[in-house]
């Protein structure tokens, strides 16, 4: 069930209404049943996989809490192996097998291991990571094991963030299922407003830009360099609006029912460095990797070289988390390299800035930093978007020619794309740099803010893309 479908609208209205009509102590049951329905709307049978990890992690949590020493560690390992094992089978098995075949082929041997013909369960990486954070936190003693099986299952399955996050921490979410969320009209409206803005980002911006980007990448050899330069810029906006739009809808839907999910994006388009970008982009995943991988590896507490290695490990694994393809691994490695390069060159860049006087013109300095960060991130995303490394190389080769037209599919599409990006940038710019000033969306006057959201709804109906349009991050 997609958030941008009527199926979801009906589902959401019914579930929310019944939720507020039920007594507090029965609500978890409704949320769990509706989350099961929500997940089963994709591929029903995959609920069994989810059920398996829930059972394993539920008991692992209790056993970890009860035991000490090696046994405690053993239960954690069992839980992690179960979660990562499922991830490996469904997401990485064929990728590993393909590379194994390639390796054997180099020695003139054939690979006897068969390929699996299976679909990747929707949002597997998201709920696996969320489940893993629970057992790790219990192991670390920061969280008591959840004894209520239904509440624990709901923590993993809570439908607003089940398939594409935010990847919640148990400390933030678990207790909320026990809290009494009474009906609050203002909070409900606040949630609906967040959902409307998310829907706008998805339908008006992301899916519109997606038409241009998909056209460019699906006819790779017929496109010119300028088309790919445009597609690279558009893809950065597309993926941001697609994913943050989903997050907004998840956060908004949860808010309507009284749940606070973590912020997942903080206007990453305005990041001044690649380091800052990762503090603003997919925050729930970045912090997950920081807490459960980067710090356990030693973080920046060891030598400088060790810090660089740790960063590279984290970003390569982050790339692999996104997909079983060398393109994602390279994308992760490039972003890790950006960070390493930024640390190495920090002093020199500062000296250079002072030398040419950029520090004296802070606005220009800020603008240059934002643009350079955007370009670097966008270029790395060519690997993220391309189907293969060869395709990505072709795109770079074509881009470097700077030839051809940007109108790969008529002028109307590109005008819509620019208009959509312009509307997004106006709102984001205002929120980034003029937060406290006049606002339509949070105006004190009821009529002003209601009119603003009414117009937003009409714009969605008028220029939104209603046909197709899965969320990009569902595949991860």
């Amino acid at each position: 069930m997609l958030f941008n479908s009527f199926h979801f609208v009906f589902f959401f209205v019914i579930v929310t209404t019944v939720y507020f009509l039920l007594p507090y102590n029965k609500r978890w049951l409704l949320l769990l049943a509706s989350s099961c329905y929500f997940y089963m709307a994709f591929v029903p049978i995959y609920i069994l996989i989810l059920g398996f990890t829930i059972v394993v992690d539920y008991f692992a949590g209790i056993l970890i809490e009860k035991s000490t020493g090696k046994r405690r560690r053993l239960y954690l390992i069992i839980s992690l192996v179960a979660n990562i094992g499922i991830l490996c089978i469904f997401k990485y098995y064929n990728f590993i097998n393909t590379n194994f075949s390639f390796l054997l082929h180099g020695f003139g041997l054939s690979n006897p291991i068969p390929y699996l013909s299976i679909l990747l369960p929707i949002g597997l990486s998201f709920h696996t990571f969320q489940a893993m954070s629970y057992t790790i936190e219990v192991y670390r003693g920061k969280l008591p094991a959840e004894r209520h099986f239904g509440i624990y299952a709901l923590y993993v399955m809570f439908y607003p963030q089940l398939v594409a996050g935010p990847i919640e921490r148990p400390q933030n979410l678990l207790h909320q299922f026990r809290e009494k969320h009474s009906f609050d009209g203002d909070r409900v409206f606040e949630g609906i407003k967040i959902m409307i803005w998310g829907l706008f980002k998805k339908l008006v911006v992301a899916d519109r830009l997606g038409i241009y980007v998909d056209n460019a990448y699906s006819h790779l050899h017929q496109q010119d360099g300028m088309t790919f330069i445009m597609a690279t810029i558009f893809f950065s906006f597309q993926i941001y609006c697609d994913f943050s739009g989903y997050s907004d809808m998840a956060i908004g839907a949860a808010k309507v029912m009284g749940f606070n999910l973590m912020t997942n994006f903080k206007r990453p388009l305005f990041a001044k460095s690649t380091g800052e970008f990762w503090k603003r982009w997919h925050i729930s995943l970045s912090t997950w990797f920081k807490d459960y991988l980067y710090f356990p590896l030693g973080g920046n507490r060891g030598s400088v070289a060790r810090t660089y290695i740790n960063l590279m490990i984290v970003f390569v694994i982050s790339g692999l988390w996104h997909g079983a393809n060398w393109t994602y691994i390279i994308w992760g490695a490039i972003n890790g390299a950006y960070l390493v390069f930024a640390i190495i060159t920090k002093k020199y860049r500062e000296k250079m800035g002072a030398l040419i006087g950029l520090n004296k013109v802070p606005r220009l300095n800020l603008f240059i930093q934002i643009v350079v960060t955007f370009i670097l991130i966008s270029l790395s995303r060519v690997f993220f978007r391309a189907r293969s490394v060869e395709d990505a190389v072709t795109v770079f080769e074509k881009m470097l020619t700077f030839k051809g037209s940007i109108f790969n599919d008529g002028t109307a599409i590109i005008i819509y794309c620019f208009l959509a990006m312009f509307m997004l940038l106006i709102v984001e710019f205002k929120r980034e740099f003029y937060m406290g000033s006049f606002s339509f969306s949070h105006n004190k006057n009821f009529w002003v803010r209601t009119s603003y959201y009414s117009i937003l709804v009409l714009l969605i109906i008028l220029v939104g893309v209603f046909d197709g349009g899965q969320f990009i991050y569902f595949q991860f």
Binding site: P23, F183, T450, I461, L462
Partner: protein, 318 residues
């Protein structure tokens, strides 16, 4: 129980605000929808203008239906010269059989053409969501043409709900509407009675398409094709189905063409299959790309087709 869980005043205030929001959205939707409708039907150029013209105005004797392979290949001027019948090309880029059938229904409600040509494409019956999405150009006609409602609702399970909005039928049409109402749009319009010539000549390599792979056919598309034939029969309008040439090396035969031929034969409708005609497939200079003939190819193809249609017994056109 409800009063315990929800404060009555909070609920009252919430529903009041919700009501105001819905009313504002409703009023703005009606207002903007009315304006868009007005300008949509005032267009003087563009694909939507041609659809409106075909549905509401044309009285041509001979009508050509189909996708881009109809719009780019059947030149009405050649047909008019050779047959003496007035002709209009109602083809529209990328449109599936649902669209053609809906337009036919609108036309039959208004008048009875003397002859109809349906251009058929390889893969027309293949299952894909895109064909349903492509019915969007019919949405502006939904309210005023009840005869097409059962076809339009195939677009999706919630189409009737979406159509409660007056803006939705004009979704993504803002720029075409502006263009169609300006001199710029008229200047850009290059059609000749619906026919859009292509001057380019194909320079690439011929592709090989393997039709032996199993393809899922869409029963709804087949039903629409059947209905198209039956409606022509009921109205006693001679119908000719034509599959124009492709510049490809094909392995096997397209499953849609096989099915379409079978249905045509069962209903005694002529099906002219030029998809693999050696005269054309060996002449790349007749093509703009592997699917579309260019102007010189159109000239040759239309004349060949007309000669075939004029062969005795002269049942065609008259």
């Amino acid at each position: 129980m409800m009063t315990k869980l929800i404060n009555a005043n909070t609920l009252k205030s919430f529903f009041l605000k919700l009501f105001v929001f819905v009313i504002i959205v409703f009023m703005l939707d009606r207002l903007a929808g009315a304006m868009l409708k007005n300008f949509y039907f005032k267009q003087q150029a563009g694909s939507d203008y041609l659809t409106t013209y075909v549905i509401d105005k044309t009285t041509a004797d001979l009508l050509v239906f189909g996708s881009s392979r109809a719009a780019n290949i059947f030149n009405p001027v050649i047909f008019e010269t050779q047959t003496g019948l007035s002709c209009f090309n109602a083809g529209r880029y990328g449109e599936p059989i649902f669209y053609h059938y809906a337009v036919l229904k609108c036309i039959l409600k208004r008048y009875k053409p003397k002859t109809i040509l349906l251009s058929f494409d390889a893969g027309s019956f293949n299952k894909n969501q895109e064909s349903y999405d492509r019915m969007a150009p019919l949405l502006p006609y939904y309210n005023d043409h009840p005869e097409i409602r059962d076809i339009v609702t195939l677009k999706g399970p919630f189409e009737q709900v979406k159509l409660l909005s007056c803006i939705y039928p004009y979704n993504s049409l803002l720029l075409p509407i502006i263009s169609g109402n300006t001199a710029y749009g008229k200047q850009k319009s290059t059609h000749l009675k619906g026919y859009i010539p292509i001057a380019d000549t194909f320079t690439g390599e011929k592709e090989t398409i393997d039709y032996t792979k199993k393809t899922m056919l869409d029963n709804k598309k087949i039903a629409a094709y059947n209905a198209f034939i039956n409606d022509c029969k009921k109205a006693k309008i001679p119908l000719y189905i034509v599959c124009s040439p492709y510049l490809i090396n094909s392995i096997g035969t397209d499953a849609s063409i096989i099915e379409a031929k079978k249905i045509a034969a069962e209903s005694s409708t002529d099906f002219f299959d030029y998809s693999r005609d050696p005269y054309f497939t060996s002449n790349p200079r007749f093509f703009a790309d592997f699917r579309h003939l260019n102007e010189s190819g159109v000239e040759v193809f239309c004349n060949i087709l007309i000669q075939k249609l004029l062969l005795p017994p002269v049942k065609y056109f008259f």
